[in-house]
């Protein structure tokens, strides 16, 4: 009998559609070669957009501005609440306003290097080019970025880079950028160009004759399951970090849209590339429902340390300077506290594993602002980080101006996602994925302040250009209606799944299963992964899945507002996605970026890549629940940034 881990290798990904030629000319070339849709004909095309975060909001608004008929969905009660809103630190752009040696090429270089050489060069370069336009666009929309006294924009530096290129709006950059996109979206809704469906969740994808032609979605208020049709479908449904149960994602962020698309034929790339953010507030107990991130911009001025001695339980102010280990400054003298996220997270795990962690359970390290307060005064620290300090105090009941913060890594972002070509099209023609939902431009590790950049680049600029080409080449696709046999089948499958969830009437809650699989993933597919651990997880996941369908309890009916049902249905998909993440982690026997295999490290404990073997993106094809998937490799070619062992020492 073959098991799930006995995956097979299929044909390599043949064409990424990335143009050839000098890297800085490729985007222009692609845009020129792309076909356009006559403005008068755009109204005839309907585009479905799922999600209203930075990527979905900006895509919906821009497509509607261009004249397309947009039908857009979000599970929240308002498009303004998508989880992009919680991004704190900032957005990168190669404006070089600081005259500190920044350039498009440097942002490109930093991103490829920061991603540990597992991203596609053409895409990353395009991202760096577009970054400049994003800032212009957002300022024009009224995004209140921080400014200098002369009225010009302020910037700050972020982990993994040595220039100051991060634009910010206090600690609420994501909120302000999202509101900008939401307002642009609102303008188009009012103009009748967007049909907006809030509190409506996508449950499946409709593929007719090999093309994405619509979705099945459930109205979360009435429970009605309906079908929606279009000429193209754009998924902007975010990442899948909630597989881990505890993460910094919103409670309802989920993987259903991308996982259902994967089941219908879209390849899923690099699922094991997850980002563990180093600066989160440690958990306080079993009741913990989510984790809260503290912007990594804090590492600009805060110093990270633990006691030199194991089991030192003295309060921080009683530990003298020479008995403290500022371990990041010690190990990485040139980047110090600003090393990339994966490195900072692993270093924190290491010192805690050594028994030098602080706080309850020893699962924390100090982030200390005493020096910063002394150097620039409390007022300046307050101006920069005031809201973050307030948030910390509210959650922990400790005053970070007086007592060093305690932080610990937490799941934050997923670099993996649906495989897309240069046009952001998945392997299903007519299905596009933007923002965190795609496998993105971040390789194996994302640099700080780059998620906002990518979401807006995809939504405002890339997708609106590339989707034209698809729609122009497939002009009149013939009407799909509700009585089409494929539609009937997808609808019936969805209804059956919902009815089954309601009918099991077992003795365990959806949350209890979510927690169980999440803890398993955190232990075996978290900050450090090993062959033994991953095999254990792969053995356990199908058992949890079997138990789920035997013991799940969902009260109420499907024809009403039913949050337990929503949750249970999302857990169904986590229980399958978790398996693919573990398999991907198992097959990639190298360490790279956020993926750290214990078997592949340098003598001093750093991640060791194996470029000859793994310089590819792993795109997985679904074959059936619990059945061995097929691996398709996209070979990565580095013409401009030559892979080196990352060094931040």
């Amino acid at each position: 009998m073959t098991t799930y881990a006995d995956y097979t290798t299929g044909d390599p990904v043949a064409d990424t559609k990335a143009p050839s030629g000098p890297v800085h000319e490729r985007w222009d070339k692609r845009r020129f070669e792309a076909k356009l849709v006559n403005p008068a004909n755009r109204r005839k095309h309907t585009v479905i957009v799922v999600g209203t975060g930075l990527a979905g909001g900006s895509a919906g608004a821009t497509l509607a501005e261009q004249g397309y008929h947009v039908v857009q969905f979000c599970y929240q009660d308002s498009p303004r609440r998508a989880h992009s809103i919680a991004a704190q630190g900032g957005i990168n752009a190669a404006k070089n306003y600081r005259n500190d040696g920044d350039s498009i090429h440097r942002l490109f270089y930093d991103t490829v290097k920061g991603g540990d050489f597992r991203a596609r060069e053409s895409n990353v370069h395009r991202l760096a080019q577009i970054s400049v336009e994003i800032i212009d666009q957002c300022v024009a929309q009224g995004v209140p970025f921080a400014r200098e006294y002369g009225g010009l924009l302020d910037t700050r530096s972020f982990g993994g880079v040595q220039v100051s290129r991060t634009f910010y709006a206090r600690g609420q950059t994501g909120q302000q950028l999202l509101l900008g996109a939401y307002q642009a979206l609102s303008r188009q809704i009012a103009a009748g160009n967007i049909e907006m469906h809030p509190r409506t969740e996508m449950l499946d994808l409709i593929v007719v004759d090999g093309r994405a032609r619509g979705i099945v979605a459930r109205d979360l208020i009435t429970g009605k399951i309906d079908t929606y049709f279009a000429d193209a479908v754009v998924l902007a449904s975010g990442g899948y970090g909630n597989v881990f149960y505890l993460s910094t994602n919103a409670m309802n962020s989920n993987a259903t849209a991308i996982w259902r698309a994967h089941r219908r034929g879209a390849y899923f790339a690099n699922p094991c590339f997850t980002q563990i953010h180093p600066t989160c507030i440690p958990r306080t107990g079993d009741h913990q429902s989510k984790l809260t991130l503290m912007s990594e911009s804090l590492r600009n001025d805060g110093r990270i340390w633990v006691p030199k001695a194991k089991g030192d339980t003295r309060p921080p102010h009683r530990i003298p300077e020479d008995e403290r280990d500022y371990y990041l400054e010690r190990i990485y003298p040139s980047f110090g506290n600003l090393v990339p996220r994966d490195i900072a997270s692993r270093a924190a795990k290491n010192v805690c594993d050594e028994g030098r962690g602080v706080g309850p359970g020893g699962q924390g390290v100090y982030l200390d602002f005493a020096d910063a307060i002394q150097r620039m005064g409390r007022k300046a620290v307050e101006a920069r980080y005031g809201n973050l300090f307030d948030m910390y105090q509210r959650i922990t009941d400790e005053d970070p101006y007086e007592v060093p913060m305690r932080i610990y890594p937490a799941v934050h972002y997923t670099m993996g996602g649906l495989w897309v070509d240069y046009d952001l099209q998945t392997t299903i023609p007519g299905l596009f994925a933007v923002g965190e939902a795609n496998f993105s431009d971040h390789g194996a590790n994302r640099l700080g302040a780059s998620a906002l950049m990518q979401g807006l680049a995809d939504g405002y600029f890339v997708l609106p250009a590339t989707i034209n080409d698809y729609l122009a080449r497939h002009p009149h696709q013939g009407e799909v209606t509700g009585d089409h046999p494929v539609v009937q089948e997808v609808l019936a499958e969805t209804e059956d799944r919902i009815n089954l969830l309601l009918s099991v009437d077992g003795d365990r809650t959806p949350d209890s299963f979510h927690r169980e699989v999440g803890e398993l993933m955190w232990e075996f597919c978290g900050m450090a992964r090993s062959d033994v651990g991953l095999r254990k997880a792969l053995e356990r996941i199908p058992q949890i899945r079997e138990e789920f369908w035997r013991r799940i309890k969902v009260p109420g009916t499907g024809q009403e507002f039913n949050q337990s049902l929503e949750k249970a249905n999302r857990v169904v998909d986590y229980l399958e996605l978790a398996e693919l993440m573990c398999l991907d982690a198992l097959h990639r026997t190298e360490s790279c970026g956020g993926h750290f295999r214990e078997e592949s490290q340098t003598p001093d404990g750093e991640a060791a890549r194996k470029d000859e073997q793994f310089s590819y993106a792993a795109a997985w094809e679904f074959t059936g629940t619990g059945e061995a998937p097929v691996l398709h490799k996209e070979d990565l070619v580095f013409e401009y940034v030559h892979p080196t062992q990352r060094s931040y020492a």
Binding site: R81, A86, E133, G151, Q176, A184, H287, M391, I395
Partner: protein, 248 residues
């Protein structure tokens, strides 16, 4: 901690609602208020009862989804969002009343969940700057004095939760509307639509059935983001200025 909860239960928009009483035990002071409700809901599900429906998402005080009236106060006794309220603000043995936002313009959907789409329509009426993608000038073409940028930011912080409406004895949405009007109207980029913005947004606000403002000030006291009451005064000034300038 052991607590008695009196929770508003209402099956759907058309049904009558009632306060139901529940006991919860083993509550840690470090729990957030919503984690306390999670605990209750886990117990209810296992008993085969309908869990209490409430809106929540980011649980870090920024998405604006959570919306509970706790012991008569929007978002409870502290100046924060419900999700950032912790059980250390209560005492063992307390009885806590939990209700939805109460306002004519926010009809109840189920239990503690209300429909706030009226806010979206106020924004759609003019809470934006018309700047289609690709048309923007270079970001530094128009410097914005730092005090103006800071003032815009202060108003832009609004999370659209609706606590201002829930706290207002008239059920008015003045603070929400004024926050957006001020955010955009103090910026040079917002100037071309300055008059139509305030007139259209205020008109939409009235149409949605929100009450009138009597400057009670409850809104600014309840606002988790500290949007100041002066925001309303500034909007009134903008509105008067616009009515003089624009003939309709």
């Amino acid at each position: 901690m052991k607590l008695t909860l009196r929770v508003w239960r209402q099956k759907n928009a058309d049904a009558d609602g009632t306060m139901s009483t529940y006991e919860v035990d083993g509550i840690s002071p470090d729990m957030s208020f919503l984690e306390m409700l999670d605990t209750l809901n886990e117990e209810l599900i296992l008993k085969g009862e309908d869990p209490v429906a409430f809106d929540h998402d980011c649980r870090e005080g920024i998405c604006g989804a959570c919306s509970l009236v706790i012991n008569g106060d929007a978002h409870g006794p502290e100046r924060t969002t419900t999700c950032q309220l912790h059980m250390r603000s209560f005492r063992d043995g307390d009885t806590i009343d939990i209700e939805p936002w109460r306002a004519a313009a926010f009809p109840v959907i189920k239990d503690l969940v209300v429909d706030r789409s009226a806010f979206d329509r106020i924004i759609q009426a003019g809470g934006y700057i018309t700047a289609p993608t690709g048309s923007a000038p270079e970001a530094h073409a128009t410097p914005v004095p730092k005090p103006d940028a800071d003032l815009a930011f202060e108003h832009a912080e609004c999370i659209g939760c609706g606590a201002c409406v829930a706290a207002c004895p008239n059920g008015a949405a003045m603070l929400f509307t004024s926050a957006k009007v001020n955010h955009l109207n103090v910026l040079p980029q917002g100037a071309p639509e300055r008059e139509t913005r305030v007139l259209d947004m205020v008109a939409q606000m009235d149409e949605e059935g929100f009450g009138g403002c009597t400057l009670a000030g409850e809104c600014a006291t309840a606002c988790p983001k500290g949007i100041p009451l002066m925001s309303i005064t500034s909007m009134n000034k903008e509105w008067l200025r616009a009515t003089r300038k624009v003939k309709r």
